[in-house]
């Protein structure tokens, strides 16, 4: 897995710096898009995966699903922060301002706050099972806002943000080399997401087991 990730990372980096032609209007600035678009995609993926495992948890009551849901939401938040920062830098260079409360920026702020609150919720509830149930419900609710904040609202209003990769007309205004490099970057980020979630889930399970051995009277982990 690590070898595939490393190879992809090298390939994408090589392509970004040596193969990508300067783009119409943006010039070499378009390189940032190769980071910005995949990272934003993975943050949406993370929130969706979190909601998926949250629903599974509510059905099956299996703690493992709660861990998976929490890890996916955490990674989604991380990637969302990365998308915001890379977006702000991109905006500074392409529009002229790091932050001017463009609809895109406002909606991503709401999204960030929504998932910070998820984190706060998890830390606030102490009882394990209550925590898992409450945060599972929250995760589903939070994920249901994502389509509105990420896909619908910014398309309805004027924004300095360019029309998204797949725009209303369904046309993809994209150079073939750029599309291939972007696809590679998206594969890399998606694989990285699943690899990181596996590691984090394993780490949390190990942490639980240690805690259990330290105080054996506590309710066992149902995995």
């Amino acid at each position: 897995m690590l070898i595939i990730l490393g190879a992809l990372l090298l390939a994408v980096n090589y392509a970004v710096f040596y193969l990508l032609p300067p783009m119409e209007g943006l010039g070499y600035l378009s390189r940032i898009a190769v980071l910005h678009i995949p990272v934003a995609w993975v943050s949406v993926l993370g929130f969706a995966v979190s909601a998926f495992w949250a629903l599974r948890y509510l059905r099956k009551n299996n703690r493992l699903y709660d861990i998976k849901s929490a890890v996916a939401a955490t990674l989604g938040l991380g990637f969302c922060i990365a998308a915001t920062v890379s977006g702000a830098i991109f905006a500074r260079l392409a529009w002229g301002s790091f932050w001017n409360w463009d609809p895109r920026q406002t909606s991503i702020t709401i999204l960030l706050l929504t998932y910070y609150a998820y984190y706060g919720l998890r830390l606030a509830v102490e009882h394990e099972e209550t925590k898992a149930r409450v945060s599972a419900v929250y995760s589903v609710m939070a994920a249901s806002t994502v389509p509105f904040l990420v896909f619908i609202m910014p398309r309805q209003q004027f924004s300095l943000h360019p029309s998204p990769v797949i725009n209303q007309a369904g046309k993809i205004h994209m150079d073939i080399v750029f599309s291939i490099v972007l696809a590679g970057a998206i594969c890399f980020c998606t694989l990285l997401f699943f690899y990181m979630s596996r590691l984090l889930v394993q780490k949390r399970i190990a942490g639980r087991k240690n805690a259990e051995q330290a105080s054996p009277r506590e309710e066992g982990v149902k995995i």
């Binding site: 032609p21 300067p22 783009m23 119409e24 209007g25 943006l26 010039g27 378009s30 898009a33 392409a94 529009w95 002229g96 301002s97 001017n100 409360w101 463009d102 609809p103 406002t106 909606s107 709401i110 589903v140 609710m141 249901s144 806002t145 509105f148 904040l149 619908i152 609202m153 309805q156 209003q157 004027f158 300095l160 360019p162 029309s163 205004h173 994209m174 150079d175 080399v177 750029f178």
Partner: protein, 124 residues
């Protein structure tokens, strides 16, 4: 079981509608010149450069004067003390940040929306 499920779906739908209606109302920071005149603080006006007429864009030595047509169709003068960004001539639309003073809009920032197409730049 079905009752709770229906209730859950209803709650989610109501929540989404509420969120959608409320957020869209307050989401956009861009106003028209008429609104800019009546507000005291710094605002953002969006529009396109007015190309018809002689003085579409000129420089008076200390900065630039633009004629901007806002969403409502009104054309106003915008004064900007500073170097205009490169993309101004190619921009699909422009956003000026600042406030209305006297007979012109004094911009502190000029932001550009460029037609981003991720297509290779062909030098002419």
């Amino acid at each position: 079981m079905t009752h709770t499920r229906v209730l859950c779906v209803a709650i989610i739908i109501v929540f989404l509608l509420f969120a959608f209606v409320n957020f869209t109302k307050s989401l956009t920071p861009y106003v028209t010149f008429a609104q800019a005149k009546s507000s005291r603080g710094s605002v953002q006006v969006r529009g396109t450069i007015e190309t018809s007429g002689a003085l579409s864009r000129q420089s008076d030595g200390r900065g630039s004067i633009l004629r901007l047509r806002d969403e409502a169709g009104e054309v106003h003068q915008v004064i900007y003390r500073g170097a205009l960004p490169d993309g101004v001539d190619k921009a699909e639309s422009l956003v000026v940040v600042g406030k209305y003073e006297g007979s012109a809009f004094m911009a502190t920032k000029v932001l550009t929306k460029c037609p981003t197409k991720y297509q290779e730049h062909v030098s002419k």
